[in-house]
Symmetry: C2
DNA sequence: AAGTGGTCTAGACCACTAT
DNA sequence: TAGTGGTCTAGACCACTTT
């Protein structure tokens, strides 16, 4: 028999046409398993599309769809006229999401937002530049403390353009749950935003709020959001203790995937 | 005429069948422009696939392909039986790449790697646990300083399993350019890896190497790489001054895109 | 019942790379 | 010239949601 070879999820898997899983997804997973098991290794050439059509009894478009997905996932690279090859792992392809941060604003009674301060003030130089308004123009200044699982986790400082004509403002003012900005109804007022992450030292005040002893390192996540006229609406930043939020990523495919 | 409406990149663009750009990509860009210009806004419904087929004179599979790309890009969400809708911007979907970090290892004469130390030692508790070897077993300890544009930018500490049977080891020892690990030939020896990023304080030694005054905050990028038997091969971390490496990301589509 | 997205077929033609 | 990936067609059938 030829069954020995199939043990390490080699190449003799087939398509199950009665399965709920679509054919293209099954092929994606077959090939992913072959990579994860080491049967296919970086630099190896995938069988040609025609071969895959014959071997699995599926049409060319379906094979292409599967391969395109593998390309999108960064597992494989296709070169016209040459073939499709397994990509080696590369540090630069790692990506980190802010998923965890957003989860702090989910509907959990242990996740709460305390409004520390909210007032109208004159924009200083830096704020005016970021929000593209004249220095001295009125802006809304908001400070919040976010508790996750009842533990102080995040500080948030935000400057919002004050313009009674914009409904964004009123939405901002009364929001203690921040959902106005992120994911909730308020997000439909924002067209795009820029984000940056850096490492920073906690200020005395931040350390007090976050119950940390100084000196301590923290993430600083800065945001600048724009409305549908591409005008800045909101500028601010989160300060987050590093031990309460970590960014992780995986490169390549683990064996037991 | 109906040309007024087209000014803000509204809806009266067409497909150019003589263009080099594939039809599906043209449709992707038409729809992206409609979102970027504010013609389509979060929550709005896209024309149905059948309508898009008729309006642009293309076949259903081509329309589907374009829409699938927009789904992958997170611009749009498709709901079976209901329609396809513009997604509001969400903080959690932001993603940050390590591209910049990898660029420090590109072939630029001003980017250099100094090998500070490389010796064989007995693994301590923590290292043994990470590398899944017995405490006291021999490991290779490597320290490097990476200069970008002739400025000290990164510290790197790495522990590599010492096993003469593995060619990875010899490759590691002589590498002062780190390309063995990232992107170069050595990467083909690694099947997958785990990464995490946190904020940390510079130690006295790190501060000296990076020419920073303490206290100072820095990124700590930890990595753990595995071979094709899913056994750990290399554990270590980069320490990077935050002012020399920043992670940025964009949410949604800017108007001038 | 009508309209939506989701999958899949069985080809066609093209552009590119190798030999 | 043969083999590769890249694009595109004109349908078919299905699953789901809404009316």
């Amino acid at each position: 028999m030829d069954m020995q070879k199939a043990a390490g999820s080699g190449e003799s898997e087939g398509i199950d046409r009665t399965a709920f899983e679509p054919v293209y997804a099954q092929l994606v997973n077959i090939l992913r398993r072959q990579v994860a098991s080491g049967f296919l290794r970086p630099g190896d050439q995938l069988p040609s599309e025609a071969q895959l059509c014959r071997r699995y009894g599926i049409s060319p478009m379906t094979v292409r769809r599967a391969i395109n997905i593998l390309v999108d996932q960064g597992i494989v690279v296709a070169e016209q006229g040459r073939g499709t090859f397994i990509r080696p792992v590369e540090l630069g392809t790692a990506s980190f999401q802010l998923q965890r941060l957003q989860e702090l604003f989910e509907d959990d009674p242990r996740n709460t937002v305390r409004l520390l301060q909210a007032r109208i003030m004159a924009a200083d130089e830096r704020t005016a530049a970021k929000l593209q308004v004249a220095p001295g123009q009125r802006v809304i200044y908001i400070r919040r403390l976010i508790l996750a699982c009842d533990e102080p986790t995040l500080c948030h400082v935000e400057y919002v353009v004050y313009d009674p004509a914009r409904p964004v403002v009123e939405a901002e003012m009364d929001v203690t749950a921040l959902r106005g900005l992120f994911g909730g109804a308020g997000a439909t007022m924002l067209k795009h935003g820029d984000l940056s992450v850096e490492a920073t030292l906690l200020t005395e005040e931040e350390a007090a709020l976050l119950q940390a002893s100084r000196p301590a390192a923290a993430f600083r996540i800065e945001h600048l959001f724009f409305d549908f006229d591409d005008r800045p609406v909101s500028w601010g930043w989160f300060i987050c203790r590093s031990d309460r939020l970590r960014f992780t990523s995986r490169l390549g495919l683990r064996g037991a995937e």
